[in-house]
């Protein structure tokens, strides 16, 4: 067991993948000497060479498009998109080509491409550096979408994503890059697409993922002071979603609040609310409530603390759900 921040866990995981599989490549803007703008790939090019840790031209569609070609040749590219808001030039290659190619080849080719995207806000950045575009990708068949919330998951989920024969969109909560946690590189990890109960409680289920898991745990702690037992579920995987774990929790608590930074309208919470309403109709004591971003562009950073769901806004929803 080693205590390390998420950024180091990701770096350790990438290093391990490069060591164990000669077909693993890292591609992206500034991933070489600089080690990526967040240093996730720090030191990797020095140790594995320019052919395996590839600084690419500044062209996101080109990065993903060539990664597809490399995958067809038998490589396992791990692509870094520098920031969430820069993924859209690659959106066509991801959705139209990467996601569909296995199916249109009737299974005869595989596309083991991981696309790492630092996402979400809270770092005081300029425009296009704080977005949460996960729903676009979760909506697309052929892609898998996951997001770790702690260092251990960062290490293991990236290992598992790289080992997956399908394209995986790997969202990294950039505001949590320096959150530290214990990482055991010997442990047997949970399956990649399994949700995890990270705090137990009997009064309400609070579902979160990525950067919002820390907030959710703060909510549970605050509610506990008021004698309310909040069960926090870290979804971890957004495609597929582990509805079984969520269902079991809601059947116990009878109430569900879902929170994410992404806008509420047609966000992950919408799908979760619909599914849980179908699966747990007779167990629900209150409608499923959602807390998230607004139907507005991500605001200038001076307003992001107000825009992002925080302890108080989530607690407000918890109170409303409990009041039913």
């Amino acid at each position: 067991m080693t205590r390390m921040p998420i950024v180091k866990a990701l770096n350790t995981s990438l290093r391990k993948a490069l060591e164990t599989d000669p077909k693993v490549l890292i591609m992206g803007e500034d991933v070489g000497k600089l080690g990526g703008v967040f240093r996730v790939t720090d030191g990797l090019q020095k140790d594995f060479g320019e052919d395996r840790v590839i600084d690419t031209p500044l062209a996101e569609s080109g990065i993903v498009g060539t990664a597809i070609g490399l995958a067809l040749r038998g490589y396992r590219p791990v692509v870094e998109i520098q920031f969430d808001g820069f993924v859209y030039p690659a959106y066509d290659q991801i959705v139209t080509q990467l996601a569909k190619m296995h199916a249109r080849a009737l299974g005869k080719v595989k596309l083991p491409v991981v696309i790492r995207i630092p996402y979400a806000g809270g770092i005081g950045a300029v425009e296009h550096h704080s977005e949460s575009p996960e729903a676009y990708f979760a909506h697309t068949a052929g892609l898998k979408v996951v997001t770790p919330a702690n260092a251990s998951d960062a290490y293991w989920m990236l290992q598992q994503a790289i080992a997956t024969d399908d394209p995986v969109i790997f969202f990294e909560p950039k505001a949590r890059y320096y959150d530290k946690g214990e990482v055991s590189t010997e442990a047997i990890p949970d399956p990649l697409h399994k949700a995890r109960v990270v705090a137990e409680g009997t009064d309400l289920t609070l579902a979160a993922y990525g950067p919002m898991v820390r907030v959710a745990l703060e909510v549970a702690a605050a509610a506990a002071e008021d004698g309310r037992g909040i069960e926090v579920v870290d979804l971890r995987s957004l495609s597929p979603v582990d509805f079984d774990t969520l269902q079991a929790s809601v059947e116990k608590t009878g109430r569900l609040v879902v929170t994410h930074e992404a806008p509420v309208f047609l966000g992950m919470g919408s799908e979760i609310a619909a599914r849980i309403s179908e699966r747990c109709f007779y167990h629900l004591e209150a409608p499923v409530l959602r807390v998230g971003g607004f139907h507005a562009p991500y605001p200038p950073s001076r307003l992001e603390d107000e825009y992002l769901p925080d302890l108080d806004r989530v607690l407000d929803a918890v109170d409303r759900a409990l009041a039913f």
């Binding site: 031209p57 040749r73 249109r104 080849a105």
Partner: protein, 396 residues
Amino acid sequence: MTVDSTAGAGKAPRAAKKAAPRTRAKAKAPRTATTAAAPELVQLLTPEGERVEHPDYSIDLSPQELRGLYRDMVLTRRFDGEAAALQRQGELGLWASLLGQEAAQIGSGRALRDDDYVFPTYREHGVAWCRGVDPLNLLGMFRGVNHGGWDPNQNNFHLYTIVIGSQTLHATGYAMGAQMDGTDSAVIAYFGDGASSQGDVNEAFTFAAVYNAPVIFFCQNNQWAISEPTEKQTRVPLYQRAAGFGFPGVRVDGNDVLAVMAVTRAALERARTGQGPMLIEAFTYRMGAHTTSDDPTRYRHDDEREAWALKDPISRLRTYLADNGLADEEFLADIDAESDRMAKRVREGVRNMPDPETLAIFDNVYADGHALVDEERAAFAEYQASFADAAAGEGH
């Protein structure tokens, strides 16, 4: 005229040193330097069927090879016509005809080695033929039974790509991989004049140049992107675009199978010997509609088509073969008979092509499975089975 903007470039490309093993097979690199005397269009066989020489590109084929190219073009045209007819009969939902582009496709396709890899658009039926892809496989997607479905690795011929230009990036990535693997295989990406405007094509040029990838960009400039003429895509001849990216570009008579083959061979040799990418603009003409859904009478004149008909790729080779005693009546009759047999097989094959099973909707969405797909498949199967149960119930 050929343009070699890499001439005099200071720093050796990154991959040059890596390419050391390739120099084993060091064939004479083609001369691609600017030659003032060279005409803009590389041509070795005139529309009248006369052999001419070009200062930079030459070819010397045996009578058997020449007859082979003729056979390929005739069979490809026949297949194409058969498919268009099948569409009119309602057997196919759509067909994208290659009529007029046979030389561009056969000349380049026959220049390739088995271990080279092809990334086509949706119109490369002639290249598919050269790669040994069963013509029936091409028709599956136009009939609507699949989205392609052949095994790309069986013939090193990737699936048809419909979104314009996307495949040029896949080809470049594949070529980067081939280079890393230390092989001397090359990759060829087909695209059209319309695609040259796409960002992906320009990004592919950038990546290929930067990594010195062994990829040939083969642009069939057939003058029309559905209804838009090439003037709506570019203000410079397309082959000249390569110069700005740092690799050579050449315009070849796309209706001259010999010139296309000579230029493609030269480009492949460059790629194999670590000299990086090359752009070939095959100057040709789309004799038919964009697809069977298109109506070219709305946007172009017949006289243009008639002018290009005089440059037909097949008739000029037939003239050459006949004038030089390389093809007799028996040879021509044999090819006609072979065409008839192939057309019959295609007709019957398409008509007997089974529809896929309904639940195939859920097949191969993922390689490693997905809980939601499993859940929806089970629910839909149950829903469908409920009709069978109801029908059985009515029988009582």
